[in-house]
Symmetry: C2
Subunit: 312 residues, 2 copies
Amino acid sequence: MRTVVLAFGGNALVPEGQSGTFQQQLANAEGMAGIVADLVGRGDRLVVTHGNGPQVGSLALQQEQGVDVTPAQPLFALGAMTQGQIGQLLELALRNHSPASPVQALALVTHVLVDASDDAFQEPTKPIGPVFEEDDAKRLADERGWRLVEDAGRGWRRVVPSPEPLDIVEDDAVRALVDAGTLVIAAGGGGIPVVRGDDGRLEGVDAVIDKDLVAERLAATVRADALVLITDEDEVSLDFGTPRQRPVHEMSIDEAEAHLAQGQFPPGSMGPKVTAAVRFLRNGGEVAIITSAEHVLAALDGEHGTRMVGGT
Amino acid sequence: MRTVVLAFGGNALVPEGQSGTFQQQLANAEGMAGIVADLVGRGDRLVVTHGNGPQVGSLALQQEQGVDVTPAQPLFALGAMTQGQIGQLLELALRNHSPASPVQALALVTHVLVDASDDAFQEPTKPIGPVFEEDDAKRLADERGWRLVEDAGRGWRRVVPSPEPLDIVEDDAVRALVDAGTLVIAAGGGGIPVVRGDDGRLEGVDAVIDKDLVAERLAATVRADALVLITDEDEVSLDFGTPRQRPVHEMSIDEAEAHLAQGQFPPGSMGPKVTAAVRFLRNGGEVAIITSAEHVLAALDGEHGTRMVGGT
């Protein structure tokens, strides 16, 4: 029995062109559950993770609208809320896929340890939440210690650090659940970022950890055989967006690292996915796949998507 | 080793007089963690549950403030968000209590099955979310199918059903975790209510399940020895709020049922706690305690609070 870690993008539940009503998210969750169920049907053990961009954006926006009547919570608390919200949707969709013999799915609150001295904390780059007018931006910078940057032509947005994930805090429980045959949904939105103080205590920090890099940490936690990173594209391409664009169906670790070094894969899109795949395979993983939701099964059979294998 | 299910009230994190800032909730979570850690230190296995009234109220209020810019989610989705939010707070507070040898705490998304034909669905009684003007109340009743009632002198509020809890949907996973030595935080806010359709599928419904009755279901799931229900009062009283008020330190199951039948314990406060205790003991539980946070340890030793034992 293989263990597969599957990472859905943040827009899998709220794709471009949808506003994110509950009915839309429910229908999309059911589609995602179908993909997971196909893998379960092949006899694989699944661990599922997911982004939370649209959902955490909505919560950040709502709480600024309501800030005069009820206290705003830190970003990492909103992240925890989205783990509940999205975990609920995905878990129930999975349990409902075959009601007669339901998948025993379970969504967990998951923290991810980051290093307080990570360079990312010096240079916050990840925009989050609503767009503000300049006056409000200055006030929020003062009142809450936020860093805000101008988003050309639109207004001001908060930026937060995107540090490297080190470890899944709940690793023991995740392993116990996987061993017990539970389909675990974990580390949603890249996990709730925590730093360890000198006294050993963990403290939440406002940051956004890349969910593909966290998927790799999750894969290491459960010693997964396969890491599947789902994206909008059917496969990784070289010279993307140029006339020379061409798909890559197989890539060795060395080739991937060379392409990364040449800047072939931008930081905000394929970069972290290819990096996560390389780390997974260097750590002893068997196969990493980057593909779109519709091609996951075929990609595992080597017929679509981008496939990278270890030991090369 | 005894297994203890401990239920905190919804205002344990946001007591009267506090607005619910993150720092307030964090400090209160650390106090709650101290109580739990004392029980863990006695060698007990703990399962923790909690209310979510203030937190779900805040989210309901915020999303109405932001309803023109991002879609409102159903109440049960807000409940799922609070399981993430509160679960995160409690879990980290528990792990931080003894950083050198942290409690392996884990917060779960938890659904609770209710019966679609429960009488409660005919007569929604539980007020939830913000107070509306009459015009808005009528519009919301039309647009969203809400039931709203006038709250004397204040305005209109939505009311939702409060059905009986039947089962914890994630029961297998909860048992596996408890067996693996994990301190489980589950069924927050009374759980996310779901009904089972004719096709066997589970569907979220907007309702609020009493958290003490759910604590009893959780206790049955893990075959707990003790059920501890924490409240603002140090113990159960008879003729509460009258000159004849007197505390009850020991109560048999039969006495408790007689008092319930006489209307000694109001539905919104001690009623569900005493009912939960009676059900727990009738199901084979050993001891049920109703007391305040500060007296939990003494109450387990029979020195404070109200103690009910089985087999009587």
